[in-house]
């Protein structure tokens, strides 16, 4: 098994006929993901990706005609909240939003509607998720993975690739890698993903990759301390040298009022018994030290 995505994933890609949408759809197909539909308003009736995938005008129609159960959104920031709501309205239970640059206030009603509908949103501004050997949704490069049993959750994109590559190089494979996104308002938090990993029989160890800003790592650590004792874990926190009051690229990565520092997060994780690497390359060793034998 895996979390969020897997062999039963039937994906519809919003904005599949755009440049990014098309490029990454091909990558996903190559990885073995079952893409059942594309959606671009006004292009309904066409076939995309070398005529392999039907395109629909609306997600409702795509879901009805193809049984899509997962959606991946590549539309620009101005239209992305509407795309998420469209997926919710069409009854899609799992929605990945890759789009970056969505104003935070636009996301407040969206996450509320998602929650009220009982759907799950990953992102926005996230790289998606990959379950090696099963499926990938989003933009994480497929080549860095190895099938295995370590769950990876991260707020970052390329930093995740770095960590996953280090694991793969060390012979440690992944059950699912999830990028939850670097925005202040996101649909799925570290804690949400930890719960999913905890319930996944094939995930035997967990790597958490955080960064400065907010308190999501602390909340995850507190939960892990209570519910994940015995599960080998390792963590990495980016931004030990970041100055206060500056937004470090990610809209969510900012230390303000002295809160959200790397030091606080490292302390919270260590208090929960989770060792924190000082470089991504140390993660495999810390996992093994924590008892991981995979």
């Amino acid at each position: 098994m895996s979390i969020l995505i897997g062999r039963d994933t039937r994906l519809v890609v919003h904005g599949m006929t755009g440049r990014e949408g098309e490029f990454h759809s091909r990558q996903m197909l190559d990885f073995g993901t079952r893409i059942v539909a594309g959606m671009t308003p006004g292009k309904g009736g066409l076939y995309a990706l070398d005529n392999r995938v039907p395109v629909f005008d609306t997600i409702a129609e795509a879901a009805r005609e193809t049984g899509a159960n997962t959606s991946c959104i590549f539309v620009p920031a101005a239209g992305a909240p509407d795309s998420i709501l469209e997926a919710v309205g069409a009854g899609i239970p799992t929605i990945f939003c890759i789009t970056e640059g969505i104003p935070a206030l636009d996301m407040l009603p969206v996450v509320e509607v998602v929650r009220a509908a009982g759907a799950r949103l990953i992102g926005p501004n996230c790289p998606g998720a990959t379950s090696p050997g099963r499926a990938k949704v989003g933009i994480i490069p497929g080549s860095i993975h190895r099938e295995g049993s370590v769950g990876v959750v991260s707020r970052s994109g390329t930093l995740t690739y770095e960590a996953v590559q280090a694991m793969t190089d060390a012979g440690i494979g992944q059950s699912t890698c999830v990028g939850i996104g670097g925005d202040p308002i996101i649909g799925t938090t570290f804690l949400d993903v930890l719960r999913l990993f905890a319930a996944d029989p094939e995930t035997e160890a967990i790597v958490l990759i955080g960064e400065i800003g907010g308190s999501a790592e602390e909340e995850a650590a507190a939960w892990a301390a209570e519910h994940l004792r015995g599960v080998p874990m390792a963590a990495f926190i980016a931004g030990r040298t970041a100055p206060e009051g500056k937004r470090m690229g990610h809209a969510g990565a900012i230390i303000s009022g002295g809160r959200g520092t790397a030091a606080e997060k490292v302390a919270a994780l260590e208090a929960a018994g989770i060792r924190v690497a000082s470089s991504p390359t140390e993660i495999p060793a810390l996992l093994r030290a924590a008892g991981y034998r995979g």
Partner: protein, 393 residues
């Protein structure tokens, strides 16, 4: 994006909130003229406040009272040009000094954990809310605005009663509280703070009246939303901005200037912070945070190189690219071209992995770049190079 107090007050006033009048002066004479006007309108004294985007200006001597136009000119003269936490004061706000009966704190923030707009209030006004939060967290009361309907009147009333603000000020408090949230939404702010919100005493034709007024205002804007607020983009204070920032924005590069000697060029914010952290771990000091973003092409790489080299303290450059959307060979070509044009010779260590890394490696080798296989190795080499050039730590 942070904006100055005067601009924050303009946004609150535009939402119909009670903000006493003010004037911005860039020279002592302007402060004098403004003081003359406010004193003539009946103010007993005027307040003169440094306009800088850092906290603690009061403690630094950037806020003073004056009782006459002449004194205002003199005080403004002392504040203008003052250095507050590394920022040179280039303008002051002049306004009537209010007679304060009681001060409160009221702020609307975008709260990540609850994923709501949270309105916070405290009867401990006039001091920094972070200090209140540390010393007496129970003195801060908060309500979460309804995620879809916004702040409701009853929520604002609950907050008012919690901080002991009932009676004649209840209705105005509700209006102000809703105004804060409205200001937040209208401008895509992630913070709108009034500190102090004060009951002030004014003398009118029928004796003294007491009313609520927003005496100070702080607003920070969501950078992601600026493209849809061209009017707010104009509030960016170029006085306090590094000239490099404007070029970075132009090329969609995230750039933050720091104090070290090792320039960093990375794709991805988390990886860029990590690169800085590893430079530090290797004994060096990063000169900047720099994220070239996803899918960067040669022109953006060249611009990033210019930004890094514009800092004379830079003694070595570390390029760290994990190709995903970004293609390693494109970055390599950009680096080669940038180096051919650059005026200053600075050692560079390049590490490119991921998409098209092989082609990148070939190109870099042909051009005799120093490369590294891992990030740890790249950091170590960059620090060594900077040391050799007489710069690191």
């Amino acid at each position: 994006m942070k904006i100055q107090e005067a601009d924050a007050k303009s946004l609150l006033a535009a939402a119909g909130l009670p903000v006493p009048p003010w004037s911005v002066a860039r020279a002592p004479a302007e402060a004098r003229a403004a003081a003359e006007r406010f004193l003539g309108d009946g103010a007993g004294r005027v307040v003169i406040k440094a306009q800088v985007l850092v906290g603690g200006r009061g403690k630094a001597g950037g806020v003073k009272l004056a009782g006459s136009p002449r004194e205002a000119e003199e005080v403004a003269g002392r504040i203008l040009g003052m250095d507050i936490k590394g920022i040179t004061v280039r303008k002051v706000l002049v306004g009537p000094a209010a007679v304060i009966v009681k001060e409160f704190y009221l702020g609307a923030i975008l709260d990540r954990a609850s994923r709501r707009i949270v309105l916070m209030a405290s009867a401990e006004g006039g001091v920094e809310i972070e200090e209140v939060a540390k010393a007496t967290p129970e003195a801060i009361h908060r309500v979460e605005a309804h995620p879809l309907l916004g702040l409701l009147d009853y929520q604002a009333r609950e907050l008012a009663f919690a901080i002991g603000l009932g009676g004649p000020h209840l209705r105005d408090f509700v209006r102000i509280a809703r105004g804060l949230v409205a200001t937040m939404k209208a401008n895509d702010a992630d913070l709108v703070e009034v500190n102090p919100l004060a009951i002030i005493r004014e003398s009118g034709p029928e004796g003294h009246v007491e009313r609520l007024a927003c005496l100070d205002a702080k607003v920070t804007l969501d950078d992601s939303a600026l493209p849809r607020h061209p009017d707010l983009e104009k509030l960016r204070d170029l006085d306090e901005e590094d000239p490099a920032d404007a070029e970075a924005r132009h090329y969609d590069i995230s750039f933050i200037h720091l104090d070290g000697s090792i320039g960093c060029m990375v794709n991805g914010a988390g990886l860029a912070m990590t690169t800085m952290d590893l430079v530090k771990r290797a004994g060096g000091e990063p000169a900047n945070f720099l994220d070239i973003g996803g899918g960067a092409k040669a022109d953006r790489v060249a611009a990033a190189m210019r930004l890094i080299l514009a800092d004379p303290k830079v003694r070595a450059i570390l390029v760290n690219i994990f190709g995903g959307i970004t293609r390693g060979d494109e970055v390599a070509r950009g680096l080669i071209e940038a180096r051919s044009r650059q005026e200053r010779e600075v050692p560079m260590v390049v590490r490119i992995v991921g998409t098209n890394a092989e082609e990148a490696g070939r190109l870099l080798e042909e051009a005799s770049f120093e490369t590294a296989a891992t990030l740890d190795e790249a950091a170590t080499k960059a620090v060594a190079a900077a040391r050799a050039a007489g710069g690191a730590a």
